[in-house]
């Protein structure tokens, strides 16, 4: 059992009883392999008999669709985007993550508040403003940061993936370069700088993501196993009931 701890002002009306699950965050830049590793971890955890909930940005029932639609147009302002993402986060936190954690699930999240903070700060938001908003966030049991040394290395991966440069991942809304490539490099360089600053502040566990997928995955499994076992020694009890998850339609 673990006490709930929040970064700042906790959510109103949320019972802050201890929980038995684990909140595990996979963070890192665009194209660094977060979703691949989240998927691998999920399969592995389930094979070990753990119930897993995985979640990520824009997957909320409340705001996911609205954000995706807003990003298709050309009228989405910076402040609006950041608050829309915060709404999405809060909905997933209250209705997916917390219930699952109380029910003893391992919650795997592809990005957490750190990506949102980095994106906002790179877009000239007041760092204390965005941190105050995300003060509602639960402090995770572990944050694994997939580290990469340069934006150029991310470029190689974007090219290898075959999907090309994305408008938002290239920070095209910031007018940083002549084209998607120039803008991508500059934007991701700034993002990496922000993540670098957050490593200590938020206690990231850093993994070298420039290695092969298999080696990174093996490291992650070992580290995640340790996080889970720490809890298992302290409490040997199993949750009685499943989580009260809202059905996704």
């Amino acid at each position: 059992m673990k006490e709930m701890k929040f970064y700042g002002t906790p959510l109103p009306d949320v019972e802050q009883e201890p929980y038995t699950g684990k909140l595990i965050v996979i963070e890192g830049a665009d194209g660094v392999g977060r979703s691949t590793h989240t998927a691998l971890l999920r399969t592995w955890l389930e094979s070990r008999g753990h119930a897993v909930l995985d979640t990520g940005m824009t997957r909320s029932v409340l705001a996911g669709r609205g954000i995706k639609e807003a990003k298709q147009g050309h009228t989405l302002g910076r402040l609006t985007m950041q608050l829309f993402y915060a709404t999405d986060f809060a909905d997933r936190l209250e209705n997916e993550m917390l219930p699952a954690l109380r029910a003893g699930f391992i919650v795997l999240t592809d990005r957490y508040i750190y990506s949102a903070i980095a994106r906002a700060v790179v877009r000239e938001a007041d760092p204390s403003w965005v941190r105050a908003i995300y003060g509602i966030a639960l402090v995770p049991d572990a944050v694994f940061y997939l580290n990469i040394s340069s934006a150029e290395e991310l470029v190689t991966r974007v090219l290898a993936s075959g999907r090309g440069f994305d408008y938002w991942e290239s920070g095209m809304d910031l007018y940083l370069g002549e084209d998607f490539y120039d803008s991508f490099v500059e934007y991701q360089t700034r993002m990496l700088r922000e993540f670098e600053r957050m490593k200590k502040e938020y206690g990231f566990r850093v993994l070298d993501a420039s290695r092969s997928i298999n080696r990174v995955a093996a490291d992650l499994r070992r580290a995640v196993a340790r996080v889970i076992d720490e809890g298992a020694i302290a409490t040997q009890q199993q949750p009685a009931a499943g989580p009260k998850l809202r059905s996704v339609s």
């Binding site: 409340l62 402040l79 609006t80 608050l83 829309f84 909905d91 007041d126 105050a132």
Partner: protein, 226 residues
């Protein structure tokens, strides 16, 4: 990011606030007609009017997906879009912007719903401080009667039924409005709201409002810088 009280725009921003049924929208539209007739460039911005957020809000209300926190954040998103689209540009261009409900509505409603006072204020710290914020103050029973006699049925969130204060919509609405009024009252000093007695005649209130607004305008159409 420029925060509340630090923007320097040549335009002027006048906002109206108050509980439901206080008559503030009527007063603002009268002000709008007058300013237009006087030849000022004037823009109008309403609460909950962002085209980007509208569909999400509508769906969330219909399916009752909101918690106090997500209700607060989605309304802040809507307000951010209004700010970036309808408020910053005309103010920069030196126009007059009239806002029907502003950040104080969120402060009153969200805190009434249990959100932390300081947290809600932080979220909205990007907002422009209005030139004048009119608070149309009507006693609770007057405002509640005006709404209940005008509406066939109160809506779920409008009545505060999400908070389980009471099963009866009208009873819940009254509790909710009472809390909101309490929050407005404490904001009068905190934000220097200009209180207008909303129990007087429409004409009297409008005269008072115009006299106050006039002091902040100049003759050239575009309002002067402070």
């Amino acid at each position: 990011m420029i925060t509340y009280g630090h923007h320097r725009f040549p335009g002027k921003l006048f906002v109206v606030e108050g509980t439901d049924g206080s008559g503030k929208s009527t007063q603002l539209s009268l002000l709008y007609q007058w300013l237009k007739a006087e030849g000022y460039p004037v823009f109008f911005s309403e609460w909950n009017s962002s085209p980007l957020v509208k569909a999400t809000t509508r769906r969330a209300k219909k399916r009752r997906l909101f918690t106090p926190t997500t209700f607060s954040l989605l309304h802040a998103t809507d307000f951010a879009d209004r700010t970036e689209r309808d408020i910053f540009p005309p103010l920069k261009a030196g126009a007059i912007v009239l806002a029907d409900r502003y950040i104080y509505t969120a402060f009153a409603r969200d805190v009434a719903r249990g959100c932390d006072r300081a947290w809600v204020r932080q979220i909205y710290s990007f907002a422009v401080r209005p030139t004048v914020s009119f608070f149309f103050r009507a006693p609770l029973d007057v405002a509640v009667d005006r709404i209940l006699s005008a509406r066939p049925r109160l809506k779920h969130y409008e009545a505060g039924l999400d908070m389980d204060w009471a099963d009866d919509p009208e009873e819940s609405f009254e509790i909710f409005q009472g809390k909101i009024l309490g929050e407005y009252d404490r904001m009068v000093d905190e934000f220097g709201l200009t209180v207008i007695d909303a129990t007087r005649s429409i004409e009297k209130q409008q005269r008072e409002m115009r006299a106050i607004v006039k002091k902040h305008l100049n003759k050239e159409g575009a309002a002067p810088a402070r």
